[in-house]
Structures are given as structure tokens and as C-alpha cells.
């Protein structure tokens, strides 16, 4: 789905944004993506034991 231009973003208001967001979401549900990234917080302990002040 082609997204709105920057101008449309800025001038189109909430309706434009909602339509775009809904369209993106629908597209995302229609077909599995090739990749999935999840921006997530991690426990600090993911760092290895060796990670010390250098």
C-alpha cells in the first residue's frame, strides 16, 4: 500500500494517519513478513560476565 507523502502526513490530519496505520496493520496481518524485529527491553544480565569497565 503506498503511504501518504510527507505533505499528506502533515496536512492530512488524524483521519489520514488512522487510515494509513490501519492499512499497514491489515497488510501486516495478511501475509507473514520475511523478518520480524521486536524492539524490547532486556535484563541487564544479557551482558556476559566478562563485560567490565574497559
Amino acid at each position: 500500500m503506498p503511504g501518504p507523502s510527507r505533505r499528506e502526513f502533515l496536512l492530512g490530519g488524524a483521519a489520514s494517519l488512522a487510515a494509513f496505520a490501519a492499512g499497514s496493520f491489515a497488510a501486516g496481518q495478511a501475509q507473514a513478513a520475511d523478518h520480524a524485529l521486536t524492539l524490547a527491553g532486556l535484563d541487564h544480565r544479557i551482558l556476559p560476565e566478562t563485560l567490565t569497565r574497559g
Binding site: R7, S24, A27, A33, D34, L37, G41, L42
Partner: protein, 407 residues
């Protein structure tokens, strides 16, 4: 910490040149974000810059990025919203676009090179100091490769390995070398070199990458090191140990990397555009938004400080006609380094008032102290393209703007 994975460091993303890919980015943070694909010449609305190309991805939302990478090479990805904090917490990952034809390596090893700012107790400390942001930037305290300190990689003895160095740090400019083995730099910033360079004295700034062809020694008793030469001494960043009986490979067996399809600028008819990178003429703090502000303005481009990641509208630094060639004259009037990154378009290094420049194609040019550099490009990708310093404190305190290509 933050990651692009719920249970580990950011994954290496692998795409194929010329093949469309889709990525669903789900924001499980407590704050907004976006993801920028550094170096990829893709459609503007997929570039991941808040308000300029898309609205921020709110907490809990998913945004689908879809694009076809035209170029092969080593790239990386990171947020462009609350950029300093989110990158400092861990959000930087390596992205590989594979060539259509395998150049003949036995192994491909991406190396995500970055610092973390930790205190003596291993906890995060303040991500920047204002007095440093107004100078060279605030350095991390722990240097890492792939989220490890001095990791050791076992490689087949006598094999050919493609090391993909990606400096994803927010501040550090450093000189790297491969010690203890035959090695050649074969590509910089995702673009193959016409002639390989020695893998020593290789200066890489935030945002820059280098592909190195490593010939692993034959004997298990030997050790290869990736070394970062810093003003206060050399530091081993990673080690590579030969394992097993030698494969007896030779660097000359590798096929040359094909050049990426970047248009050649028409220098005779190119228009010259001037950009001056300097301090801010004012002192007003950028306005805060959901994509954050550091609370200070120190820097400017053409005497204008970026007002912050806001809906705008703002004026571009320059308007470029679609398809036309341009020479950008980049003048650093400060005593500090500024790795200048242009989104969406690659450019060619032409000349400098300070040094000889190789004819490199890049997306991130390191401007040294008081250096003026001329670069050339074809404005062949329409849209509003962010143009900024990749020392993130500089970017977030004014040294940012955008170029508009097309109407």
C-alpha cells in the same frame, strides 16, 4: 538494555540484492521508535525517520517495512527516534545484503563494533555530558564486538573469511587493523573498492563499515586480532583462532565484488551546493517531542540548527532536481570530526583540502577537523532525505537537516 530481539543481541539481518523483503517491526518498548536502514537506497517512506518519512511507531504498534535493496554489501540498522538513548541502550544491528553471486568465502562473520557507557558496577551511566556534546562527543567506557568484550572466534585454518566491520557506536572514531594474518579491505560503506587496501590504519567513524577479506593462518598456534588503535594505546577488540587442518586457500581465489549500480555523476554539468557544518549561532534548546531532545543546541548546518524531531513543516537545506547531478561542498569549520551521513542516496568522494581521497562511493563521509570535502551525486531517489552528523550527540543538538529531491 534494549534490543531488536526479546532474548538476545540484535540479530544480523540478511537480505538478497534486488529481492523484495518485508520486515514487521513491533515496538515492545514503553516509548515510540522507528527503524532506519543505514545505507540502503530505498523508497523514502521506508527510510525510518520520524515525521520526515513516517510517524513514530508507538509503543505496542507494528509497522511493516517493505523494500528491495538495490545494492549489496554491509549495512546496519538503528532507531531514529530518541536516537541517542535507544542506541546507547543497545539498539544497533548489522544488516547484510548478499551479492547475487557468491564471491567464494568459506565464512561470513559480521562484527557489530560499539561501546557501552557503563560504570564500574556494570550499570549504565549518563549517556552524554553536555560539555562533550559541544565538542567531540561522549565516549563509551566499554568497547565491544557483538555485545562481547574481546570475543574469540574459531575459524577453519587456511580458510577465507569475510569480516564485516560495522561501527554502530554513537561517538567513537577509530583506526582499526588486522594483526597476525594476511588481510585486505575489499569494500567500504558497502561499496567494493577498485583495488583492495591493506587492513591497517583503517579509520572508521560512526556509521561506517568495512569488508575485510581475511586469510586465516594455517597453524593452530597462531592468533589473529582485530585491533583498535586509540590515543591511549591499542586495544584488542576480537580474536580469531585457526582450527583444524588447513584449507590452504588463497586470497587470489576470491571473485571481485561487482560494483553497486550507483549512477555516475555528470561533473561537467553538476550544480554546486555549499554546506557549512559549525556551531549554532543561537543557543535555544530544540523542542522536545516523543522522539526526545537532549535539551541543548550546539551545532548547525548552514547556520541553522535542527529544531528537533517534530512534525514541522521545516524547510529543506537544499532542493535538488530529480535526475540532476550535484557537487556538495562540505565545509567543517569546527575542530571536531563529523561523519556526515546522507540518507537515500550514495555519493562519490571527489577531493579534500586536507588529504588525498580515494574514489570511493559512500553514504557516510568523515569530515576531519577544518576539512572541506567535495562529493558528487545523482539526485535519483525522490523524497526528503535526512542529512546529519552521525556523532549522535551532534545530530541531536542541531547538526541535522534534510535535502529534498524532486517536488
Amino acid at each position: 538494555m534494549m534490543s531488536f530481539s526479546p532474548d538476545g543481541p540484535p540479530p544480523v539481518l540478511r537480505f538478497k540484492q534486488g529481492v523484495k523483503t518485508t520486515i514487521d517491526v513491533t515496538n515492545a518498548l514503553q516509548e515510540a521508535s522507528v527503524v532506519h536502514w543505514h545505507g540502503l537506497r530505498i523508497a523514502n517512506r521506508m527510510d525510518g525517520v520520524p515525521y520526515l518519512t513516517q510517524y513514530p511507531i508507538e509503543a505496542g504498534q507494528t509497522f511493516r517495512y517493505a523494500f528491495t535493496p538495490p545494492d549489496a554489501g554491509t549495512f546496519w540498522y538503528h532507531p531514529h527516534c530518541n536516537t541517542l538513548e535507544q542506541m546507547a541502550w543497545g539498539l544497533t544491528g548489522v544488516l547484510v545484503v548478499e551479492e547475487a553471486q557468491d564471491p567464494g568465502f568459506d565464512r561470513d562473520l559480521p562484527l557489530n563494533i560499539r561501546d557501552f557507557r557503563l560504570g564500574g558496577d556494570g550499570q549504565f551511566i549518563d549517556f552524554f555530558k553536555p560539555r562533550n556534546a559541544a565538542r567531540g562527543g561522549t565516549y563509551g567506557t566499554v568497547s565491544s564486538v557483538n555485545w562481547q568484550v574481546d570475543p574469540v572466534y574459531d575459524l577453519e585454518a587456511g580458510s577465507l573469511v569475510r569480516l564485516r566491520l560495522a561501527v554502530t557506536d554513537v561517538t567513537r572514531v577509530g583506526a582499526y587493523e588486522i594483526a597476525g594474518a594476511e588481510a585486505q579491505v575489499i569494500a567500504l560503506d558497502s561499496n567494493p573498492l577498485p583495488v583492495p587496501l591493506p587492513a591497517s590504519g583503517l579509520i572508521l567513524a560512526p556509521g561506517q563499515r568495512a569488508d575485510i577479506a581475511l586469510r586465516v593462518p594455517d597453524d593452530e598456534s597462531e592468533e589473529v586480532r582485530l585491533v583498535l588503535n586509540r590515543p591511549n594505546g591499542a586495544k584488542t577488540m576480537a580474536r580469531f583462532r585457526p582450527k583444524g587442518s588447513s584449507l590452504h586457500r588463497d586470497l587470489r581465489e576470491l571473485k571481485p565484488l561487482p560494483p553497486n549500480p550507483v549512477a555516475e555523476p555528470d561533473l561537467e554539468n553538476a550544480e554546486i551546493l555549499d554546506f557549512v557544518f559549525g556551531w549554532s549561532p543561537e543557543g535555544d534548546a530544540p523542542q522536545s517531542s516523543q522522539c526526545g531532545s537532549l535539551g541543548y543546541t550546539f551545532w548547525s548546518i548552514n547556520r541553522v540548527a535542527w529544531p528537533g524531531d517534530l512534525p514541522g513543516p521545516f524547510d529543506p537545506l537544499a532542493r535538488l532536481k530529480l535526475g540532476k547531478s550535484y557537487i556538495l561542498r562540505l565545509r567543517n569549520e569546527t575542530p571536531n570530526d563529523h561523519p556526515i551521513h546522507l540518507h537515500g542516496v550514495s555519493f562519490k568522494l571527489l577531493r579534500s583540502n586536507k588529504r588525498e581521497l580515494p574514489p570511493l562511493v559512500t553514504d557516510t563521509a568523515l569530515l576531519r577537523s577544518q576539512e572541506t570535502m567535495e562529493v558528487a551525486l545523482v539526485a535519483d531517489n525522490p523524497g526528503d532525505w535526512a542529512f546529519h552528523c552521525h556523532v549522535i550527540e551532534h545530530q541531536k543538538t542541531g547538526l541535522a537537516g534534510f535535502l529534498r529531491i524532486g517536488d
